[in-house]
């Protein structure tokens, strides 16, 4: 009897392993193996058809830190990260809070409107924003006709405004997406918890910090990790909205790596791999910090 019980358990164990094997294998072959490959390639140089070991081996890595353009792409990416992610997540949270009000009417309509940008592909919205903010484009038209601008402004041709437009575009595209996660989280919180807090005399600000935030913590951490990850890998917008310009002032890390792999005619896979490994380490560190911060608040 005992033996039989064990074999049933074993059978279940085996079933469990079988279930997760396809996914595991795929991740190993499609993510881990290539990143190890990239690591190896990052120690090599030369044209991609006949690469050789770099001498010294760390050549690509030391080079990276002398590369002003790469450093600028890192700076740009972090600028997007630091400015855009907090604004987006706070805005998403505010929207979720408002939409979670049970007295609110037309909830479905508003929710749909706010989420709608997520249905548009990254390439599409980049192109939409590009034409909206063109020098002769609609935004200039509107801003000059209502008197905010005296003459048409070249939004995408000036480093500051071009960065701002990338950030605005990102906010437009992703706020609704994060809002849905928060809204879902908020709907999972029993109304009675809030009622109890109200009876205890907590104001809405206190309720938010003492009840909502702790209960939503896993969701908040998840959205943070997703956003950081997404921003550090920003590519489509940089390529299609500003082409990294003007004067490389909006180029992102991924875009610069792509340029080194294909870019303007001179492929340098060794260097590109070193750069992408650097990005991998960055993302991993940030995600680890994020999870740690999430943990210690318990």
């Amino acid at each position: 009897m005992k033996k039989k019980g064990k074999s049933i358990q074993a059978k279940q164990q085996r079933a469990g392993w079988i279930y997760l094997t396809p996914a595991t294998l795929l991740i190993f072959v499609m993510s881990f193996y290539p990143i190890i490959q990239a690591l190896i390639t990052s120690f090599r140089t030369g044209p991609s058809s006949r690469m050789k070991w770099a001498s010294p081996l760390t050549w690509n890595y030391t080079r990276m830190f002398q590369d002003k353009l790469f450093m600028r792409s890192v700076g740009n990416t972090f600028l997007y990260l630091i400015v855009q992610v907090p604004i987006m997540l706070i805005l998403a949270m505010i929207l979720a809070q408002i939409l979670n009000n049970k007295d609110l009417k037309f909830k479905g309509f508003f929710r749909t409107c706010v989420f709608l940008p997520c249905a548009v592909s990254l390439v599409s919205y980049s192109l939409i924003f590009k034409s909206l903010f063109a020098t002769q484009g609609l935004m200039n038209h509107i801003l000059t006709s209502i008197g905010i601008l005296k003459e048409n402004y070249n939004f995408l041709g000036n480093p500051g405004s071009a960065k701002a437009i990338i950030i605005i575009a990102l906010l437009w595209r992703w706020t609704g997406y994060n809002m849905v996660f928060y809204l879902a989280g908020l709907q999972g919180i029993e109304y009675s918890v809030y009622e109890a807090a109200k009876i205890d005399g907590a104001n809405s600000w206190q309720t938010f910090w003492r009840i909502t935030v702790p209960l939503l913590k896993p969701t908040i951490i998840m959205t943070f990790i997703m956003s950081i990850n997404g921003t550090l890998q920003l590519f489509d917008e940089s390529v299609n909205l500003t082409s990294g310009g003007p004067a490389n002032s909006t180029i992102t890390m991924s875009h610069y790596i792509y340029n080194n792999s294909f870019g303007v005619g001179v492929a340098n896979f060794g260097y590109a791999s070193a750069l992408s490994f650097f990005v991998f380490i960055l993302v991993a560190i940030l995600a680890a910090i994020n999870m740690k911060v999430g943990d210690t608040r318990d």
Binding site: Q12, Q13, A15, G16, W17, Y19, L20, P22, A23, L26, I27, M30, S31, F32, P34, I35, Q37, A38, T41, S48, L95, N101, L104, K105, F110, T112, C113, V114, L116, P117, A119, V120, S121, L122, V123, L127, I128, S131, L132, Q136, G137, N140, H141, W172, V180, F181, L183, A184, T219, N229, Q233, F235, I257, Y258, F269, S273, S276, F280, A284, A287
Partner: protein, 275 residues
């Protein structure tokens, strides 16, 4: 009395309504612009014409003449659908396995797999291309979807949602002689429908919108997908904005439809995953 209270509440909500209306307007306006632009001539789009024009058919003719629109739509549709089906199967199975059969080793493995979330797309692009070309998967649905089938995010989503799955029933079913796969197929799948719907929406949108990897693996024009087609439209030597926006519109319609159809299930599915 109740009515009065209701009107007081509604009055207090006025700032909320105004805020929501503004945000909704900002959210929808660029899409409205996309639709109007698709009906205008390139010059009008470039000059920021904001109302509907009469050039829709002309843009359509130009688009069809210059590009294999239906081919790209078909490719996008096939690729995204196949990827969604396979990804849902593989990841739900894994999420199911990780949560309901969990032990220390599986939990450790799960943490390891989460690392894959941090692997940037550009880093794996070249090794994956070599792999795909060696396996003869360039320009095929296999090459398109293989790197994107198994994602930590989806596995995590299924795993989180499985927490609500009634484990007791599993035991009962086993005693009734249902096989382990039977449990997945006959019990897990129906119960988790909302999660599947949410996962389907996310995966389909990601697959449909994918740009960087398809740009690498789909070397043949005949295999190109919609995002590549519209990016190409904008990268040509002379860009016809009306035609471009029509292409953008075509690229956006399917994902919007999917979202509208599955909106309710999507919200439910997400709810489960963040509990």
């Amino acid at each position: 009395m109740i009515k009065k209270r209701g009107s007081v509440v509604q009055r207090r909500l006025i700032p909320s309504y105004i805020f929501l209306i503004i945000i909704s307007f900002i959210s929808v306006f660029p899409l409205y612009w996309m639709v109007t632009a698709a009906t205008n001539s390139s010059v009008d789009v470039a000059r920021g014409k904001i109302v509907f024009g009469t050039k829709l058919m002309e843009n359509m003719r130009n688009l069809l003449a210059g590009q294999d629109l239906w081919g790209a739509m078909k490719n996008s549709f096939i690729f995204a659908t196949v990827q969604t089906l396979v990804a849902l199967f593989v990841c739900s199975l894994a999420g199911f396995g990780f949560e309901l059969y969990h032990d220390k080793n599986k939990d450790r493995l799960f943490s390891l797999l989460l690392m894959a979330m941090m692997v940037p797309g550009v880093a794996t692009m070249i090794p994956l291309f070599k792999m795909m070309s060696r396996m003869g998967f360039l320009n095929t649905v296999m090459g398109f979807m293989l790197p994107a089938i198994s994602t930590p995010f989806l596995i995590m989503m299924f795993r989180q949602n499985s927490r609500n799955f009634p484990v007791d029933i599993m035991e009962a079913a086993r005693i009734d002689g249902l096989s382990e796969f039977g449990i997945y197929w006959k019990m897990f799948f129906p119960v988790m429908k909302a999660t599947f719907a949410a996962a389907a929406v996310i995966t389909f949108m990601n697959a449909w919108n994918a740009y960087l990897w398809p740009r690498v693996v789909l070397t043949d024009k005949k295999a190109q997908t919609m995002p590549i087609l519209i990016a190409n439209l904008s990268a040509g030597y002379v860009v016809d904005y009306g035609m471009l926006m029509l292409g953008v519109l075509f690229c956006s319609i399917p994902t919007m439809i999917i979202f509208f159809i599955l909106q309710k299930q999507f919200a439910e599915g997400i709810t489960g995953s963040v509990k």
